[in-house]
Symmetry: C2
Subunit: 375 residues, 2 copies
């Protein structure tokens, strides 16, 4: 695979079904089959799971959070330990975010300038400063396979003026991010902002994609907006993103959100949702969501999801999962996390198969209908 100018071509679309795409992305730690859901490993661990369990669930790539890892244990320490892959014992691809999202959610604790962002740690109040150059340096020290450009992520709602100003800053920071990226093994992705308004999104898309990069992301979703606004915008925005590059929708979302985004042409996802709600006893099944603490499962000897063959469903009953949850046992968090991650990975696997074999429309609609009852 090579492009006209001799630049390595990392992404290939293998098949399309209307807007939906089936592709493969080459990284320094192996190939990622898309559409793909990336498990979130904020603090160098996907909560409650081992790397082996992630692989058994079909996880192809893990996301690390630059903000959290910078604060603790620090990227220099991780670099000394051989990089994030070795530190956390994960030999497959790693994507790191830029720190932008976390920093900008620290409202009141941060000061934004053209140069970058000064903020106080949520751990101990210590002062930190992250610029595009610093974000690149951290992510390169971590040894990420996919590095995200440093962007400003606005909360919802924002005024037209705020959005315009933020987009322009994000563009200038993207240029600085690219200039600061010197690690050849890593792929830099740019982030499209622009809020929930199509004209702003198109303007940001134009700015960001004017910079030649191995991938592009949609940022600024899951920031408090009514979810139907994202559902309505995605079919208009995603198909306009470069067709020959991976498209990554950041921080999204429910199974329904993922399906709607795939149907719009998105290739990559990450979200804390499957592991976070698992720890709170909410489980995704092919029949819709299940709250495991409900009394109806008290003496239910059947597996959580009869359609599922994950470790949890193969070995434990709903009655046992309910007991572990009500008892606050760590094994409950583990078994629930394994199930939800497996479900998400299987949803992606089935989506890939459906796009490949031309059954995407039926698969998409039947899932949306089943999930919409409770999802």
């Amino acid at each position: 695979m090579s492009e006209a100018k001799g630049v390595q071509k990392h992404f290939e679309v293998l098949k399309t079904h209307n807007n939906a795409r089936r592709g493969r992305l080459q990284t320094a730690h192996g190939v990622i089959q898309t559409p793909v859901f990336m498990a979130v490993g904020t603090k160098a661990t996907v909560k409650a799971m081992t790397p082996e369990e992630l692989v058994e669930c079909g996880t192809q790539v893990v996301l690390g959070n630059t903000y959290h890892l910078h604060l603790r244990p620090g990227e220099k320490l991780i670099k000394k330990m051989g990089g994030l892959h070795q530190f956390m014992n994960w030999n497959k691809p790693i994507l790191t975010d830029s720190g932008g999202f976390q920093v900008f959610s620290l409202s009141g604790l941060r000061t934004l300038t053209e140069e970058g962002v000064e903020f106080r740690s949520h751990l101990d109040g210590a002062k930190y400063f992250i610029s595009p150059e610093k974000s690149m340096e951290i992510q390169m020290d971590l040894g990420s396979d996919i590095i995200m450009a440093f962007d400003e992520c606005l909360q919802y709602p924002a005024t037209d003026e705020q959005i315009q100003k933020s987009m322009d800053l994000t563009y200038r920071w993207l240029l600085r991010s690219k200039a600061a990226m010197t690690r050849k093994e890593s792929l830099l992705f740019g982030i499209v902002q622009g809020g929930l308004d199509l004209k702003h999104r198109m303007k940001s898309l134009e700015q960001v994609t004017s910079v030649e990069l191995p991938g592009y992301a949609l940022g600024g979703f899951s920031v408090g907006e009514p979810i139907h606004l994202m559902h309505e915008l995605l079919p208009h925005v995603a198909p306009l993103m470069p067709a020959d590059k991976p498209r990554y929708l950041m921080g999204v979302g429910t199974p329904t959100d993922l399906l709607i985004a795939i149907n719009s042409g998105v290739d990559m996802f990450d979200c804390v949702m499957p592991t976070r709600v698992a720890r709170n006893g909410t489980l995704y099944t092919w029949q819709g969501k299940v709250s495991i603490k409900r009394n109806e499962y008290k003496e239910d000897p059947s597996p959580l999801d009869p359609e599922c063959d994950c470790y949890t469903c193969r070995n434990y009953s709903r009655a046992y999962l309910r007991h572990l949850f009500l008892s606050g046992e760590i094994l409950g968090s583990r078994l629930n996390s394994i199930h939800n991650i497996y479900f998400y990975m299987k949803l992606m696997e089935r989506s890939r198969a459906a796009i490949e074999n031309g059954t995407w429309d039926e698969f998409f609609l039947s899932c949306i209908q089943k999930f919409s009852k409770k999802d």
Copy 2:
């Protein structure tokens, strides 16, 4: 294997080294090699671990707590789910305690009569009543392989009069426990009480062993006494227990405690210590105890214990374990629990080997010396 009167013989001493014994105990769910450490699975789960991980660590038998399981989810529910083995997905032997220890630690919440004990649940204050007959019924419903007689467990210190009265009650309750035991697949063990005084212990031992049973336990340790009192008493008491029956020291203890007890002739142990301290960041190694949060491990790329080949030591650095602990990550509790359980199981395995091949004295002394530095 059969005894003179045609009674099934469950236990066999294969080798002795002075008082130390190497044996095997046959149960309905398989053979237990002794000396053995039983992992504590209070609420139908050994905290933070799966059954497969327990097996990988060398765990032969798990202990369930009658008091906790009676309160939640209830033995009738577990019986409906196929028994405790099936409920928690553990196919090897299970021992259950009688509920006595937990009930008696509920001081102020309980009323003791000849008939049994009335107490209030620590969960919701509801009233419960456990008698010897009830304890047997619960344990039989759970489907335990080894069932403990219902006893009174005194706190330390106690007066001579209290101890005598309690021992006599324990004896009468043992007779009722045996009479109530109707499950042929289960082995009933009697519990010797008598505090920290040799004459009381010998009296209780005489009472309890006058009842023919497949095993006997030493209860009433780990109840607040200075540990040297137990260390001094064990060599006098354990060898007096029936030589052809397994001897179980309940609720004990540190690696040093276990070695001293094995040296005195004890065969079986259980304790929450390895998993509890693991969650608090204290790890047992062949060089002594390690507190993983210490600053000296911050950038330490070496495994926790270079002598250990558990999953944790094979795959993770001290720096990573420290990071997980300081970050409060569930994976930290998991990896630490795996290591400590593995260490305890390996300590038992090496003890068995040392007794077998005549190197017990050297093994015993070298361990005591190494562990005493920090243990």
